[in-house]
Symmetry: C2
Subunit: 479 residues, 2 copies
């Protein structure tokens, strides 16, 4: 018991400012978001972490369904010949594919890829299912697991060999419909990341070198992290007719003419949990945005022997009062002290703590403590629901505002590659004019140690590499 | 267009009574539950089929959470040395494991199993996470995909190389708690299969030869299918301390003494959709129980040029009236005739069809047609919601009653292996006294072509094989 207590109350031993990487690992492991497993680069989602993902999934899923997206499930294992059908696509993914070559004691005739993404297996079916304009649009999505066997150093949630995601794969009769969907999806990603995860990123188009393998154009939201590195968030790819050609996905239009479909793919992944933890957390551990927190308020009774029953009763009454409007938990465990519990729930990032002790019972009040600011305030029991709802909204807005300010304050406008290099080595993101060509990307990477993250669609200025027409782009050192 | 119309209106060309296997395949393929893919033995879940699974998942998940179960996610790929830790377990699964041996261009040092089930990877973490009685019970579940590379002939949904399921893996301080959970889970399985899928099965303990690889005792619900074969449904395994020993999962009890945990595992899979389709379907296609149907009522306006707008308006009003209490769809497609739509939604098993034509609009009524009985009745528009709700309940109850009667009427009581053999070759399930030993199972299988399905826990009669103490058991020819 003593040993356990010691371990947990110690909490995070690294400082976010001083040793970000160690701080991050301790935070998500000790708060029980994920844990290491014996499989290198693969992590276990513990109940607390998985509950956050479940909440994100249920919100995104509901919004996708409103857009007319339907869920499906396709096989995990993809025959090698199918994966090879779209040339750019296989080039992009082959180096990271985990291959099944044996089953039981039998060597397979053909290698099977553990899906790194499902375009090829899905589009093989689409070519069978789509025949006429009546079958379009097809807006299918799957929530599943994918494996990309990277050999880089893994970072839990951010860079892992298996992750969870949704992968949307849609097909339209016209280019216009497909391009409109890209806008709608990017809007959806902006909404859910801001409203739920309180994260502000920079959205735009990927450069030619950075776009999705097989796409005409890729769009993403990019996040600047506290250590000065950047991470790509949710994305949407306009695939044009590339896969339609490779997989022969055609339809008869209303005039009876054979046409190729126009396609998109888009995704949001468990990486978002890592970006969220990195962004909002502090030296005490996680700080969860209320909209996504599995527990929004934790009630901790301060129990002394003589007044224990009365205090517990008051705590239970408060729970009852709140449980219909909030995700609330009463921590009435006997075997831990109130102080130990304070630390544990702070570590786990619960947005609001409600303390109730014998004196509060007498005064018919409870103490509310905010996780983000540490601010402590007493409120009459009757007003708790109202006050906490207000506080949660303030926390949510405050976290998003802080995230937006952080991005703004740490993004430098640069006019040249030298300025970009200086910004990047100074842990800043940068904006500047850029053309987005493969040639310029190569030069830029070699010279600056940064890369382009995304480019805005409006023309603005001259490319800092080649001097031709450019647009405002974001740059950074990416994970 | 003509071609497409022809294909769909033709519907199911095989009769359930005459060619069950062909009827079943056509039914679930043409109703768009699943489809074949290029990966042999692996199927794609189409939106209509996946929506049924999603509904089952959400109901089961809510009930599990009420029991205190928490969701987690563990890696897909399990190192070979981990899989080998529990001897019986690996013996049972190794012949069907799909092995990852290469990643990118690199040959891996150790083969990785695509999870056939997750005991080994999860318990490796449990041994790290569980330290004291305070950490117990652990009731974790994951909804995921598993691969068992069977070489038998696949049957869509029933016997496939990849399937979706939930796998619960729990750990308790005492044997009593673990055994109680087995009862609770079996009760849950009975409830969801009866209330949602309208399926009546025979529940009991598996024989020694048929139990789960690594378990002390396995329990399951077994279903008799219309073709006389049987299929195992959801199950629950009491693993005792077998895995706790293999994975060293210990805890300090309240007295500070080191103890091994007691464990269970349990699951329900996508196979249930196949059992449901086989049981309730008829020569027109699927018949879905209302509680699980993605669409409970479909409104079909009978549109003639002159009255089209009025009819459509009436249909929309009906939808509005129903959409808050029912999962309702208005099929207002112009490009298909009403008759074509009748066939399509019958094929898809929608429990209730609502027809509304110009004459019905005049009379302020609609026609309700039941999918299960074909019964047609007119109701005043104002009473539709009430009448349909009543009808859906009747359909649900009726389907369950039919399923129970089918099981009862097709289960023969047998006194000897000869009688059992006769029953099995006559497409019946059978009950009889049985001891459940490995020796008797071997003899029984060899002599009767049937096997034991499950055994009831109450002693009753003498084993029909060895003559020793027996219990009532179910037998059949299993998938």
């Amino acid at each position: 018991m003593a040993e356990k207590e010691k371990e947990n109350t110690t909490g995070i031993t690294a400082r976010k400012e001083q040793d970000f990487s160690e701080w991050y690992t301790q935070t998500i492991i000790k708060s029980e978001i994920v844990d290491y497993t014996t499989v290198s680069g693969c992590f276990a989602f513990r109940p607390y972490g998985y509950a956050i993902w479940e909440k994100l999934v249920s919100e995104v899923d509901a919004r996708l369904k409103k857009m007319g997206v339907q869920n499906v499930y396709f096989p995990l294992l993809i025959p090698e010949r199918l994966l090879k059908k779209e040339e750019e696509h296989v080039k992009g993914f082959a180096p990271e594919v985990a291959w099944v070559t044996e089953a039981g004691n039998t060597k397979l005739d053909e290698r099977l890829a553990v899906r790194p993404t499902s375009e090829t297996i899905m589009y093989d079916s689409y070519s069978k299912w789509i025949r006429s304009w009546r079958d379009l649009p097809i807006k299918y999505n799957q929530w599943n697991n994918v494996v990309r066997w990277e050999f880089k150093h893994p970072t839990p949630l951010i860079r892992t060999r298996e992750f969870l995601w949704c992968e949307g794969h849609t097909a339209f009769a016209t280019r216009e419909e497909a391009e409109k969907e890209i806008k709608d999806i990017m809007q959806l990603w902006t909404e859910v990341t801001e409203e739920l995860l309180a994260l502000k990123g920079a959205a735009g188009r990927k450069s030619e070198a950075e776009k999705f393998a097989g796409a005409i154009a890729s769009y993403s939201i990019e996040y600047l992290l506290p250590n000065g590195r950047t991470a790509q968030g949710p994305d949407a790819h306009f695939d044009g007719q590339n896969f339609a050609k490779a997989f022969n996905i055609t339809f008869l239009d209303e005039q009876g003419k054979k046409q190729l479909v126009w396609q998109n793919t888009w995704a949001i992944t468990t990486r978002m949990l890592g970006i969220m933890a990195m962004t909002h957390g502090d030296d005490k551990g996680l700080v969860l945005p209320p909209a996504i927190a599995p527990i929004q308020a934790v009630i901790i009774p301060i129990m002394f022997d003589e007044s224990k029953e009365k205090t517990l009763e008051a705590a239970r009454t408060i729970r009852k009062q709140l449980e219909n409007t909030l995700r609330v938990k009463l921590d009435d465990r006997n075997e831990y002290t109130a102080g130990w519990k304070f630390n544990e729930w702070e570590l786990k990032g619960v947005p609001v703590r409600i303390e109730v002790g014998p004196k509060d019972v007498e005064k018919k009040q409870a103490i509310i403590v905010r996780r983000d600011t540490g601010k402590k305030e007493a409120f009459p029991t009757g007003k708790l629901a109202e006050e906490i709802t207000k506080t949660l909204k303030e926390i949510q807005t405050g976290l998003l505002r802080k995230s937006a300010e952080f991005l703004k304050n740490n993004t430098t406008e640069v006019k040249s590659m030298d300025e970009l290099k200086a910004a990047a080595s100074n842990k800043k993101a940068a904006t500047g004019a850029y053309c987005g060509s493969r040639e310029c990307e190569e030069k830029l990477k070699a010279k600056t140690e940064a890369k382009s993250l995304c480019i805005q669609d409006k023309e603005e200025g001259k490319c800092m590499v080649c001097g031709k027409k450019g647009s405002k782009a974001y740059f950074g050192k990416s994970y």
